[in-house]
Every structure is written in structure tokens, then in C-alpha cells.
Amino acid sequence: MSIEDDLLREPSGGHAVAVAFRRSNVVMGARWATHVNGWLLLLPAAVLLVTFTHYPAVATFIGSFFSTPKGARPAVFVGLDNYQAMIEDPIFWQALHNNIIYAVSTIPLTIMLALFMAVAVNAKLVGRSFMRLAFFTPTVLPMIAVANIWLFFYSPGYGLVDQVFNLFGVPAHNWLGDEHTALACLIVVAVWKDAGFFMIFYLAALQQISPNLSEAAALEGTSRWYFFRRVTFPLLMPTTLFVLINAIINSFRLVDHIVVMTRGGPNNTTALLLYYIYEVGFKFWDTAFAATLTVVLLVLLAAMALGQFIFLDRRIHYQ
């Protein structure tokens, strides 16, 4: 607009006006081209993103206020009935409880082990390339495949866990069939699967830390543990936050091992939220109730997204 205003005030003759006008047309054209090109480039991805992420998220929310269509009966608006049913559903609370226990045990264990692995692989230990291989291998294996191997490890009597415990005189135990041990067994598998993945981020961060620091500390006679606690660990804080967020997401996203190992049992003690959604939606075909449960999961994930923005802000200060 301002270009056209300038044009009108142009004092010189017709020729200059024509040139300026043509130039302004080019500028305006280029500007429009930028907008159009930008959106055209984005369009294919945007269509798919809206169809399979934004639309389903909104539709889930709306669907949670309707009943499940059955046969000839279409879905009708039921207000907060589904939420009422959810609050009264003991299995929902159990699944939420299980998921929280699962998250708060898996996450710190995974992070501590990942950090330990990274320090070990980063140190000049004998066989560190074998170690790195061993730690990272679970990351590239399908969860569904390794869950079958772990299923054997836990089988009562002849499974590897019982065979080892048997050497120490511990009697055979049905690890996955016992309400008190089943969830812990799944936690072990999750830690085993993820620790090596998170290790590589710590490894990358450790390699960024200047060796001068540890040399200076060694001259001062600082103990290695003190140095780790006061220098290395604080410097790794941005990585820890990054790993933490990913670990939280994983603890709500991945339920493959549950399908293979326990199917939520015994007595729902290993049902995590997403697994319960899968059961309600695709075994009982109660899609409205499954949508209501999904809303809870989405709210949890959105809360974490918000947390991440805050953490990301802090991350900048560290660097």
C-alpha cells in the first residue's frame, strides 16, 4: 500500500512513474508469490496433519459427549454421561494409577542407567565399543519381538529368571501371573528398551564438555564423584530435560509389550491408559467411552507440551 501512496506523490514525469509503477508491480507480485508459494509448499503436509492429528483430536473431544452408535441407533448427545461413567469406572482409575506408577519408576531408572552407560562408554574402558553395541541394540529391535523373549525369561519354573533364582534357592514364581510382580516385570522391559536410546544423547553431550575442566579438577585433587556431581551433571541438565520429556511421552505412548506379555492382566494390574483405550475401543467396541478416555490422555500430553515450552525456555539459558 505504501508503495502506491509513494507513487501518487511521485513528482517527476510520466516515464519515471511508469518505471516506478512497473517496479512496484514486481515487488507486490513477488510478495504475493511468497505467500502463495509458502502455502502451496506447506499444503500437502498440512492437509494430512489436519486430517490425522488436529481433526481426530477435536473429534475425540466432541465424540466424548455423544453415545456409542449401536446398530440402527445413531449416536445421541449425552452431555457429561461418559465422563460420569469414567469417574465411576474402577478400571479407569486403576489404569491411570498403573500408568503413573509405571512412569515414575521407569523414567528415573532409565535416566540414571542411561547416564551411567554414557559415562562408562565415554571413559577409556576396555571393550567400550562392545558396551555401546550392547546398550544400543534394544533400540533397533522391535518391542513386539523382544517382548516375546522377555516372556520366556519370566515363564514360571524353566524361564531364565527362575533358573537363575533357583541357583540361590529361591522357589519358582509366576512373575507375570502375580498381581504384585507383573507391573514391575513390564517396567524392567521398558527400562531395558529405552536406556540405551537415551544413552546416546548423554554421550553426545559428554563429548561436548571440555576436557580442560576435568584436568583442572584433577590438579586440584577433586574426587571423580564430586566432579561429576558439581560439574558434569549440571552441564548435562539440558540433555536431562530433553530425555525426561521423551521418557514421559514414551511411558504413555508405548503399550506393545503389554499386548504380548500380560494383556493388561492379572486383574488389570498392568493395564496402562493407552492399553485400556485399545481394549475399550477395539475389543468392547465402545467408541464413545474410548474417546472419553482418550481425552484424559490428550489432556495429560497437552500439559506436558506446556511444560516443554517452559523447559525449552530454560534450556536456552544453559547454553
Binding site: 505467500h35 502455502w39 500437502p44 550392547a134 522391535p142 523373549i149 505412548r253
Partner: protein
């Protein structure tokens, strides 16, 4: 923590971490009588692989997974490149808002929107097809973000020089940006292939026939069917399904680790 203790701990941990794979190998290459019985003189055999391969249509499952992974990666590379280019170098209306909406998918992944996405696929009439498995993942926020960050590091002088010589925006993208981002494409490709080779829950829900099931779902049906629990067969099938990725990882270990690192850090 003394160094000796640290070393012992690290070795113990490495041993524990490789144990499941080592066990699978043991069970797969010995007769089933030895699957839970460990002696040095156990006879070796490849019988389990043959039996497992013939007990289920694994060749078809391999083909399905191969098609699925290729389709997803090809679509992701094209879509994410275009979108990333738009975000990195075009100042269009609504860019900031659009970018936030894209990033939302990093938190709210297709993996949790199974109920509604199933409904969409039913409405579109493509339940139990391979494209239906892949569609929700093709526009990947992760890929868009990763490539945008990379494209932003390309010096704008290169871009302008190409434009002065009369290259169109698309030519600039293909001649300047894409070649410079090659390592990121390799990293993203490896991560995407491993993710979708291993993905399970959504394919389990959306497929119900041999001609569409990927390996993970096929393996689960094979392992849980009522053929009696023969751990040697399951171990052999498990190794078979993981073999391509595992071999690639063992051969290109450094690239794999670096790719996962690169893909995660930005």
C-alpha cells in the same frame, strides 16, 4: 565411586543388556529340547528357522513391511522437505501459527488417536490396506522440524546467488538445500525406517488379513496362536523379523548411533 567398581558395573550391565538377544540366538540355533537347558555340547540346527518360515506367511509379511516402510519414507521425505522449505525461507501469512500447529504433533502423536483415525479410515473405505497404516504418519512434525532447522543454517547468499541466475524456488530447493541437508536425510531416514519397521499397535488395529499385515503383527499372531509354546520357533521367528534392521545396525553401527543422535538433539 571407585573406577574398578564402575568398570565391573558397566560390564555387568552390558552383559545383562545383550542377554535377551544372546538367548534368542541360543534358542533359535538349537533343538527345542535345549531351549531352556544350557549345555555346551548342545547340537546346532537351522531347523527352527525353516519351520517358523513355513508355519506362517512370513514372506508376505516381509513384503508388506517393506512396502509400508518405503511408502511412508518416500511420502515423508517429499512432504517434510516442502513444508520445511516453506517454514525456513518463506514469510507467508500465518507462518508462526502454522508452525505451532505442526509442532503440536510432537506431543499428540497418531499413536494415541487410534479411535478417531480408525473411524476416518472406515469412512474412507480403506480399512485393511497398507496406505491406511501409513497415512497418519506421512506428514511428520518431527521431520518438518528437523529439516527446517537444517535449511535455516544454509547461508542465504547461496540461495540468492541461485535466484539471481534465474532459478525458480523449486529449483533452488532441489539444487541448493536438499544436497546440503544430505546427512540429515540419512539420519531421518534411518530413524523413520526403524520406527515403522517396529511399529505395532496401529497396524494391529487397522489390518486384518495376510495381504496387509506387517511383520510385527504377523509375528504376534504367530507367537500367540495355539500351536503350543515352542520357544525355539518363537526365537527363530523373532530373529528373522528383526534381522534386516539388526544386520544393518551391526554393519553401520556408527552411522546408526550418529543418526539417532542427530535426529534427537535439534
Amino acid at each position: 565411586m571407585s573406577a574398578a567398581l564402575e568398570r565391573t558395573g558397566a560390564w555387568l550391565l552390558a552383559f545383562l543388556w545383550i542377554l535377551p538377544l544372546a538367548y534368542a540366538l541360543w534358542a533359535a540355533i538349537h533343538p527345542s529340547a535345549y531351549s531352556a537347558h544350557f549345555t555346551l555340547n548342545a547340537p546346532l540346527t537351522l531347523e527352527n528357522f525353516v519351520k517358523a518360515w513355513n508355519a506362517a506367511p512370513f514372506s508376505r509379511y516381509f513384503l508388506n513391511t517393506f512396502m509400508l516402510v518405503t511408502m511412508i519414507l518416500a511420502a515423508q521425505l517429499v512432504l517434510c522437505t516442502f513444508a520445511a522449505y516453506a517454514f525456513a525461507r518463506f514469510k507467508f501469512y500465518g507462518r508462526e501459527l502454522a508452525f505451532v500447529l505442526v509442532l503440536l504433533q510432537l506431543m499428540i502423536m497418531p499413536d494415541v488417536l487410534i479411535v478417531e483415525n480408525y473411524r476416518t479410515m472406515t469412512a474412507a473405505g480403506i480399512v485393511d490396506t497398507i496406505p491406511a497404516i501409513g497415512l497418519p504418519y506421512m506428514a511428520s512434525a518431527f521431520g518438518i522440524f528437523l529439516l527446517r532447522q537444517t535449511f535455516k543454517t544454509v547461508p542465504s547468499e547461496l540461495d540468492e546467488a541461485a535466484r539471481v541466475e534465474g532459478a525458480s524456488p523449486l529449483q533452488v530447493l532441489l539444487k541448493v538445500y536438499v544436497p546440503l541437508a544430505k546427512p540429515i536425510y540419512v539420519a531421518y531416514g534411518l530413524v523413520s525406517i526403524s520406527y515403522h519397521w517396529n511399529n505395532f499397535l496401529w497396524p494391529l488395529i487397522i489390518t486384518n488379513s495376510v495381504s496387509t499385515r506387517p511383520l510385527t503383527v504377523g509375528l504376534q499372531i504367530f507367537a500367540s496362536s495355539d500351536q503350543g509354546i515352542d520357544w525355539s520357533l518363537i526365537a527363530a521367528a523373532t530373529l528373522m523379523t528383526s534381522a534386516p534392521l539388526l544386520t544393518a545396525f551391526l554393519l553401520f553401527q556408527r552411522q546408526f548411533v550418529q543418526s539417532f543422535m542427530r535426529a534427537g538433539i535439534r
